[in-house]
Amino acid sequence: MSMNRTGRPTQSGPNSSNNAVPFETTSGHRGLHLVEPLIFEIGDARHSGVDLEDVGDFDHALGGLEREDRMGLPGLSEPETVRHYTRLSQKNYGIDSGFFPLGSCTMKHNPRINEKVARLPGLADIHPLQPESTVQGALAVMRDLAHWLTTLTGMPSVALSPKAGAHGELCGIMAIRSALEARGDARKVILVPESAHGTNPATAAFCGYQVKAIPANDDGRVDLAALKAALGPDVAGIMLTNPNTCGLFERDIIEIADAVHEAGGFFYCDGANFNAIVGRVRPGDLGIDAMHINLHKTFSTPHGGGGPGSGPVVFSKALAPYAPIPFVEEGEEGLFLREHKAAEGDKSFGRLVAFHGQMGMYVRALAYMMSHGADGLRQVAEDAVLNANYLLHELASDMTPSFEGPCMHEALFDDRFLKDTGVSTLDFAKAMIDEGYHPMTMYFPLVVHGAMLIEPTETESKDTLDQFIASMRALAKAARADETDRFTGAPYFAPLKRLDETRAARQPILKWTAPQSQEAAE
């Protein structure tokens, strides 16, 4: 037992299990571990947390289509609502809670000035179909964001409207297909490295392409010889992530671009990992034709538990004419939106989304860029890469890095260091939860066994990294010292123990139903 400085006993490590509670509480709560029912179990149709004026009698004009069924939408008063969602929030781990090295996701600090300015009435309380004369400031935000993005990437144009990374991929591949069709070229294949994110092959298939996988070489990069062998008259293009999902810069990227172009194809770059190179490398100098940028990664807009995101796509000169509408243009009476294709000769592939994209995210991303400036953004990339290399170096002796460094913004390990320990990557990740960390990305990319992809981002201090390193080393040693229970039973200290995902999929319960009707159904 350890003692604090006043001599009072303090809680010691994981061995003094919190399972050994000598009694059950009456409430089911355990101090700050508060059990929270579903709203359907605590609310009902006759409670409400809003006050609305009395409607009074009037003649409806609903054509006899009045809703008469019970809707099954319980209400709660305002204080109950606040408590319900506050308690739920406390069962969550966010960047604000602690270190969140989820590889490929760039979980950096989300500045609050961005949240503040995005809520200014002049930016949040405006309608997408208001007269353009009344939204000149909003159009200026779009114009200025476009300028930053094209300058940072060294590309001539950008389509802002895609709503996330995968949507940006769709935008890029549609432009490629449109450009090919415009020259009467019906190529059928998109090359996708094995290490690619799942959205890449899914996008290619969405656009009617066959996907051909390209293997990685022993350096964790695209096998250039295999790529060249795969190129041919049927290949529409390649979707390549750079820096790639192993956290490595594709050294041969210019040669790859040349080879793809020589074969008549286009080069789509997945820019999810732009954080590693922003301000230090312009993708336009690498020969790419299109690239999406996840504003919710590199440019700090919050992930929000799974969105909303924003995935603008930058285009080369060859693809720019095929970009989707709308976009902002400067006219004699100020800025305006080109919302429709021109009657003649307009090559745009059309509209990808209602309205103009993720304005709320544009504002946040632009505020972030302006805060950092050209100098700060370059520092972002440098610190992100420095942090990742520091982790790679410090963890190399206890874990097994998959490839030789230097890495870029993230460090990839595999499960060789867990060989014969009975501990899997999943178990290891769950033990990290007990250490107070959000686990790294697991089992992705698919090119190494039991992948652990660690992305620290630039917003973590050296102290945080050093503590994390100490935890990871201790865990690796514990695994090798046969402390298997510490892993296979983990997490011990989370609000819940490990969840049964097989059962969830086998007997899916996707919505709440009242207990009586459940019984009746059985």
């Binding site: 969550n92 009344t134 929000g304 420095l386």
Partner: protein, 456 residues
Amino acid sequence: MRYLPHNETDRRAMLSAIGAKSIDDLFRDVPPAARLDALLDLPLHKSEMEVDRLFRDYARQNVPAAEHAFFVGCGAYRHHVPATVDHLIQRGEFLTAYTPYQPEIAQGTLQYLFEFQTQVANLLGCDVANASLYDGSTACGEAILMARRITRGRKRAILAGGLHSHYGDVAQTMTRFGDEDVVRLAPSPDDAQGDMDRLIAAIDDNTSCVVVQTPDMFGHLHDLGPIAEAAHAKGALLVAVVTEVVSLGAVRSPGEMGADIVVAEGQSIGNSLNFGGPYLGLFATRAKFVRQMPGRLVGETVDADGQRGFVLTLSTREQHIRREKATSNICTNSGLCSLAFTIHMTLLGEEGLRKLALLNHRQATRLKAALSGIKGVKVLNSQFFNEVSVRLDRPAAPVVEALAGRKILAGVPASRLYPDRDDLANILILATTETVSDGDIAALSDALADIMQAEL
């Protein structure tokens, strides 16, 4: 820089631990030709105060809805969102979390998504709903693709003329490179029933689905029952689209009327106008189609101690497992917007939602009454929820501009959406939510009457 914890001492210590001479060492895999040595031609860093000021400048050049009598709708609606909503969604544990891949430390997100799915399914009248898509328009496109998968071999989707024009455009884009054939009926705001008749007449044995919006883009409410019947008789599915979900507090749900897939824009509940995004795609369907659904799903399960908990489930439909065979390529969706929706819906509850919907409807009936007496203005709707269309005796766009000069944002001229259709140039679409006062309606009708006085 305020977001970067390292100082030069830290950086030097870390570089020397790694054994690198300088940061450039770590970038050595970048081809020399592509290395930038100098800063890009962009402004340098700014203090928080300066950034704040710059964005106030942008904001000042816009006219926020609250400062005008405001009648703009057409797929995005201005409702009062309780302050509680925006406060709760900004809790860092929600705001700064990722997609809930580690369920033991993401029960907050997972439980609210389970609640959200239940609310959405119940609201739309369906068995199951997913955890959101990007917005209503992409949800509509996904529904068409899903109908295609379900009705194997059938290749034609028929879109009603009253479907929001952007939704039709997005559907065409999303199906463009498949073998799906999208047929768009012409908009006919003066003849709502004719639109439905033509839709029913167009269904054939090759039809995978018909897509009908209600209330439609011009505000007309449609009884989906006869359309569902006609579609089902030919083996096709009915995809229903709702762009104003508040209507479902007053109007029978599409599921109840027989729709097979219901998609909606959920922005109205919990989310601000935001100049068009981020918004919230709602997607619901019958239980038997669940394995064909796009997007994430949360399901109930238990943990190792038998406690109830929630996880992402049925992910064999999704890109990270199935790659090129996935039902959709979607990954990040509209997480925080669904949180805003679910909190606002919980505050409303069934009774609150009904009342809110009736308030919206009442204001629309008052708007209709006020406009009906004006010379040169013909209201086109007999059954509607909170939006009506009028046919003016002159082009609508200049009238809207003139009214904007009088602090009235009078709605959307159909020409904004259909610039090439001369027959729609005189159509104006106006929405009234609970935020529109009787005084706003009076101001609009007075000003409009005044403008319409002028000779053509």
